[in-house]
Amino acid sequence: MFRQVLTQQWVSLRSAVLVFVVISFAVPLLTVVYGGGLNAGDLARVAQWLDSSERIGLLIPGIALLLGVVFGLGVWAPDQVGKHVYSLALPVPRWRYALLRFGAGTVLLAAPVAALGLGSFVAAWAVTLPTGLHAYPAQLTFRFALASLVCFAMVFALASATKRVALWLLGGIGGVLLADLLLSAFGSDAEVTAKVITALVTFPGPLSILTGRWALFDV
């Protein structure tokens, strides 16, 4: 049954998968192109190199987030189009069906992750770095895989949720923003939104995987 679900998701998401495969492969290589050639006789360009690596590295968590959003929404799209008739007709419990969908989505997610890994290794092989500078293709790929998984799981859960849950979530976000507005109106320095975001993106916050260092080339 997993194969059928996977095939169905591939059919509905193949364009997105291909686009993300190309982007994920190209981004690490962009570091090399943007940073220019670097070899033992061209040490003066190390600063430029590190700069470009860092700047381009900032794109990678963005791609992970986008990947999660597109795939998280995409895996439920066939059910929403068919008003869940197909899934209700299947002789499987709800939890198993959701796991099948998630598993199939994760398999498809592996393609852009593998493409980023391949692009990173190719970029690392294409340059000669001076002593003390290193390429981190494996670490970057692993981090990207985890970040994509977290984003995918988040959007997957949201897309599968009822309208009530969506309303609760939106209400929560609105409440935080409102609290911020009220506090600032009364002259308070407390920044609720900033604190919530900081808590989410700072370890042990669940989204801390999206922040931190993402540079392919570093000290």
Binding site: L99, Y136, A147, A157, G212, R213, V219
Partner: protein, 365 residues
């Protein structure tokens, strides 16, 4: 009503110019006039001495004292007390935050604004009289007042040290520093260095870093820290100067060094690393070993700079310079791309919880 009475009174005085009661005769009036003229003259002199005219405005410059923490400033009278206090407080905080200049040294100086008048009275103050005066070239309205105060105190401190430390310590080291500005300048120097020592340092050679940073023996700084190739590269614009320089460019390495030594380094610094780079070394010590370590670098018995750093940080010089190099190259960031186990577990746990929620909550229910 009041003004009408005043007008009537003035008219009465004019109509009957009789001497008022209490006034003496003509002689007495003459003496009083002379006294008043003398007082006016003295006042005008005092005003001229205590003030300067700039852009048509007269500014009082009689020195007034602003002590705060270890810092004491003597600024013009035109400086408001709040501005003077805040300058002294900020300078004191800045010096303590970095920890380079010992509090005992700062307590031994008073920073006097240039052209401040009547500083003799200030010197008679028993607390201030013993302090060494430092001149502050600053005018009210210049936003760099605090920076200049810190600069003057740091420069005086550098002068008070032994010759090796005095040459090495940049006077601007105590100024506010950030990785974005100061660190970037150090990074640029390291990666675009014109000296072979700097290039070796970038390539990860600790001996190159030690030479570039001027941490080794400084008996003959040029020969120790520059190669003839470096000198040729850096003196390219002067290549048609003296005969010795022409010999240098013709390939005689000895002439290059001799030219540089004879012409007082010919514009070459005895230490290849710029002031910004040396400041970054101190900032690295502060970031990794704390404020006290920065103070320890220049405290204690005179020694070579390398020995001073090793003594203050308790680590080998090679390890220190390589650590500094990595710190500058990484712009002070904590580390390279990596995913600690805790972060990976947090991500996986969060994903697991979300999947669990996705299997429970449904549109079907």
């Amino acid at each position: 009503m009041c003004s009408r009475w005043r007008a009537l009174f003035a008219a009465a005085l004019l109509v009957t110019p009789t001497a008022l009661r209490g006034q003496g005769g003509a002689e007495e009036r003459s003496r009083l006039r002379a006294l008043l003229a003398r007082a006016d003259s003295l006042w005008a002199l005092r005003v001229a001495e205590d003030s300067v005219t700039a852009r048509g405005q007269r500014t009082a410059r009689r020195a007034q004292l602003f002590p705060s923490g270890d810092v004491a400033l003597a600024l013009w009278g035109a400086v408001s007390s709040s501005e003077g206090d805040s300058m002294a407080r900020a300078a004191s905080a800045q010096l303590s935050e970095f920890g380079l200049v010992p509090g005992a040294f700062t307590r031994g100086v008073v920073v006097i604004q240039v052209n401040a008048a009547d500083t003799a009275a200030l010197r008679r103050n028993p607390a201030m009289g013993r302090r060494q005066p430092l001149l502050l070239d600053w005018v009210p309205g210049d936003p760099r007042g605090v920076e200049k105060v810190v600069y003057e105190i740091t420069r005086a401190y550098a002068r008070s040290l032994d010759s090796a430390a005095s040459v090495w310590l940049p006077p601007g080291a105590g100024e506010p520093w950030s990785m974005d500005r100061g660190g970037e300048r150090a990074l640029r120097w390291l990666t675009e260095s014109q000296t072979s020592a700097g290039s070796l340092c970038l390539a990860g050679d600790p001996a190159g870093c030690r030479r570039a940073l001027g941490l080794e023996d400084a008996k003959n700084p040029l020969a120790a820290r520059y190669t003839a190739g470096d000198i040729r590269h850096m003196l390219q614009e002067q290549r048609y100067g003296s005969a010795r320089l022409q010999a240098c460019f013709a390939g005689d390495d000895g002439s290059c060094l001799r030219f540089a030594e004879e012409s007082r380094y010919a514009g070459l610094s005895p230490i290849p690393a710029s002031e910004a780079v040396r400041t970054s070394v101190l900032r690295y010590v502060r970031a990794t070993r704390g404020v006290d370590a920065v103070g320890r670098v220049f405290a204690g018995a005179p020694a070579l700079m390398g020995a001073r750093f090793a003594r203050a940080t308790g680590q080998g010089l090679d390890s220190l310079v390589l650590g500094w190099r990595a710190w500058v190259l990484s712009r002070g960031r904590p580390g390279r791309v990596r995913t600690p186990v805790g972060e990976a577990l947090a991500a996986l746990t969060f994903s697991g919880v979300l999947i669990l929620l996705a299997t429970r909550r449904t549109r079907w229910q």
